[in-house]
């Protein structure tokens, strides 16, 4: 009897839902699989908050079209990511997948989405394979290609006139990619490369090697806690004044600067966005983010916001049609008619950004450490893999 009642009730609700669809537009479902826990959790939190800020600005709509954002935490674990995306596709029937932070997740979940025929729009992770040989018409990246900010560090170091650099990274793929990206644009001499163990805490031995090698600058890519430890010890050893520290934006976001305090003073870092970029979209973003969350946004938050604004522009162009008009939605995404918080933004043929890159310096202002733009190092930069992509 109870079972029967439940079924009846279910049918009724379903019927109502169908009837309703005629009157109000069904919301476009956007699945966000991101990393909210673990040490890298603040990246996903900022992407999510930036994204939801844009949705909130329009009272639950993007481009005038109602949207429903489903947020799930992958815990930086590809297995979790796969399960979440499977549920998104089978049960929730999402039209757009976004949110992925780390590059161990994206190679697992992006093909699932693409195979299912929905759109994949990355706010962060962008491994080289998807920028080159395996690029796809429904795969878009709003942030950067993974190498971009490392490449910018190479350009920045060259522009600042450094001749002798020492490089430091963990002994794994992303670490080696980072150093390769730096070297691609650095014109000076690399006097030594030091590889450390992933997860290493104490860098006394490496710091002694750096002191002995006397480089003009050090470029390092040590993610998360590793970078914080290294910067603290580097600064304690008094090396900051002898050998400048040049890093990619990931190693000097506002969260890390708060953690290392005064030790961060003088660090040069690269980014496609900074809070002091003077454009209307950025002003609006900063105002909204600060008043809603009472903290400073990281570059990840800006990427989440940009992702939402890109989707908004495409939804507006197609009147809310995504899977019903794939070609139209795709074209609308490709034209990228939205005001990015980073200023200039358009897509290259591999659907990765063409944008400007900056170098920044860490300064103390009103008792808070923050990044200040020094200068632009690249205009209309695009990644190194675009030629390998078959899309035109």
């Amino acid at each position: 009897m109870k079972k029967l009642l439940q079924t009846l009730l279910g049918t009724l609700v379903l019927g109502l839902g169908l009837a309703n669809a005629g009157f109000t537009q069904e919301p476009v479902k956007i699945g966000m699989v991101t990393t909210l826990s673990t040490g890298g959790g603040y990246l996903g939190q900022d992407v999510r908050d930036g994204f939801l800020l844009a949705v909130e600005e329009e009272d639950g709509k993007l481009g005038g079209v109602p949207v429903e954002v489903l947020v799930e935490d992958d815990g930086r674990n590809p297995v979790n990511g796969r399960q979440i995306v499977k549920r998104f596709l089978d049960r929730d029937r999402i039209s757009i997948l976004t949110g992925v932070i780390f590059s161990n997740i994206s190679p697992v979940v992006a093909p699932m989405a693409l195979k299912d025929g929905i759109f994949y729009i990355s706010p962060n992770s962008a491994p080289s394979t998807f920028a080159g040989k395996e690029c796809h018409e429904n795969y878009f990246v709003v942030s950067w290609q993974n190498d971009t900010l490392h490449e910018a560090a190479g350009m920045g170091a060259t522009e600042l006139g450094y001749k002798k650099a020492l490089l430091l990274a963990p002994n794994y793929q992303a670490g080696k990619d980072a150093l390769a990206g730096f070297k691609r644009f650095f014109k000076g001499e690399v006097i030594d490369e030091i590889y450390v163990k992933l997860g290493q805490n104490d860098y006394a031995a490496e710091i002694a090697r750096i002191r002995a090698a006397k480089p003009e600058m050090v470029f390092q890519f040590l993610p998360g806690g590793m970078g914080i430890n290294f910067l603290k010890q580097y600064s304690q050893a008094g090396l900051m004044k002898d050998s400048a520290m040049v890093v990619s934006g990931f190693s000097a976001d506002i969260k890390i600067l708060n953690a290392i305090g005064d030790a961060g003073s003088g660090i040069i870092s690269t980014s496609q966005w900074n809070h002091d970029l003077d454009n209307a979209a950025n002003q609006q973003f900063l105002l909204g983010f600060r008043s809603k969350f009472e903290r400073e946004p990281t570059l990840y938050a800006s990427q989440g916001y940009d992702t939402a604004k890109l989707i908004a522009s495409a939804l507006k162009a197609t009147g809310g049609k995504v899977l019903e008009d794939k070609a139209g939605f795709r074209e609308a995404l490709k034209t990228a008619k939205f005001a990015s918080v980073r200023g200039n933004f358009r897509f290259a043929s591999n659907q990765h950004p063409i944008h400007d890159l900056y170098i920044r310096e860490v300064v103390k202002k009103n008792g808070q450490m923050q990044n200040r733009i020094l200068r632009k190092v690249a205009t209309d930069h695009q990644d190194a893999y675009v030629q390998e992509c078959g899309l035109r």
Partner: protein, 307 residues
């Protein structure tokens, strides 16, 4: 030459630091027969207490002072509630229970203080480098760690070899039933011992705070190396732990310092770098494997052990 001396000092400092954590671990295993995986969590408690204390008072020294009661109290509570139930149980049960404790304490720390690492800055007077030899600048704080660590090792030696409590501890390691039969309150002795181990771990955590980021899970990184130290030194032996820790500190540091550049002399550059990095992170485990093959009881095992 200067570089070599500096790296030797780095190795010594790392070794001394490892000793502070390993000493408690080896005592607790040797005397109480408990494998305490949660020892790293006590180290984390020390570091957090220092960071929080420093935020409250603004002084590193007060923070350091707060680490000791915090770690001791946590140690006492853990012994009372959990470890005490495990003395007569199988090692597997102990591993399960203390592993659960790691998860619990990590989650509790996350709930209380969040996932963002805490920042501990050194007082101005300590954040300088001193010239100990012409041309050799060395951070004063690291020298201080070496000094305090060696001093503590000496005190532990005095405590264990020349006091009544130490005598009971030594007797407890080798002839547990006999000590009990003579009417010594082993429960009290065990609690005291556990708290001593917790104090040492907490102190090590407090010392490490300004060097590394104070974050959830920091204990597990150290714990693994400390197990290597006490296995190499001989389970239950303080001398062994000191020897093992210094050896590991040296091997790890010198490996990281010179292996890659040494290999470059005989191998192509790219190859030498990745082989060097891989070998130096393996070196301590290779060493442990060698010790286990040729001297499974450890290099300086407890003498006269019957169990």
């Amino acid at each position: 030459m200067i570089l070599l001396i500096e790296q030797l000092l780095n190795g010594l400092q790392f070794g001394v630091f490892l000793f502070l954590v390993s000493a408690g671990l080896t005592l607790i295993f040797g005397i109480m027969g408990v494998i305490n995986l949660a020892h790293g969590s006590l180290y984390m408690v020390g570091a957090y207490a220092t960071a929080i204390g420093m935020q409250w008072t603004g002084s590193f020294w007060w923070g350091l002072l707060m680490a000791l009661p915090a770690a001791a109290f946590t140690g006492w509570l853990v012994e009372l509630v959990i470890i005490r139930q495990l003395y007569r149980r199988d090692h597997l049960d102990q591993v399960l229970a203390t592993f659960g404790l790691i998860l619990f304490l990590n989650e509790l720390t996350t709930i209380c203080f969040g996932r963002a690492p805490l920042f501990l800055s050194l007082p101005e007077t300590l954040s300088i480098s001193v010239e100990i030899l012409p041309g050799l600048l060395y951070p004063l704080y690291r020298l201080l760690i070496i000094g305090t660590g060696l001093l503590l090792a000496f005190f532990l030696y005095l405590l264990i070899s020349h006091t009544r409590a130490g005598m009971l501890l030594r007797a407890g390691t080798t002839h547990r039933e006999m000590v009990e039969a003579l009417g010594v309150n082993l429960t009290l002795l065990n609690t005291g011992l556990f708290v001593l181990g917790a104090l040492l771990a907490g102190f090590a955590g407090a010392l490490a705070g300004p060097l590394i980021s104070v974050e959830v899970g920091m204990g597990e990184n150290v714990l693994i190396l400390c197990f290597v130290c006490i296995v190499i030194g001989g389970l239950g032996s303080i001398r062994g732990a000191l020897f093992g820790a210094l050896l590991i500190g040296m091997v790890d540091t010198l490996g990281r310092a010179f292996l890659a550049s040494g290999l470059r002399l005989i191998l192509p550059l790219d190859f030498a770098d990745s082989i060097g990095a891989a070998l130096s992170s393996m070196s301590v485990y290779l060493l442990m494997a060698l010790v286990l093959i040729f001297r499974p009881q450890g290099i300086l095992p407890v003498l006269g052990r019957v169990r």
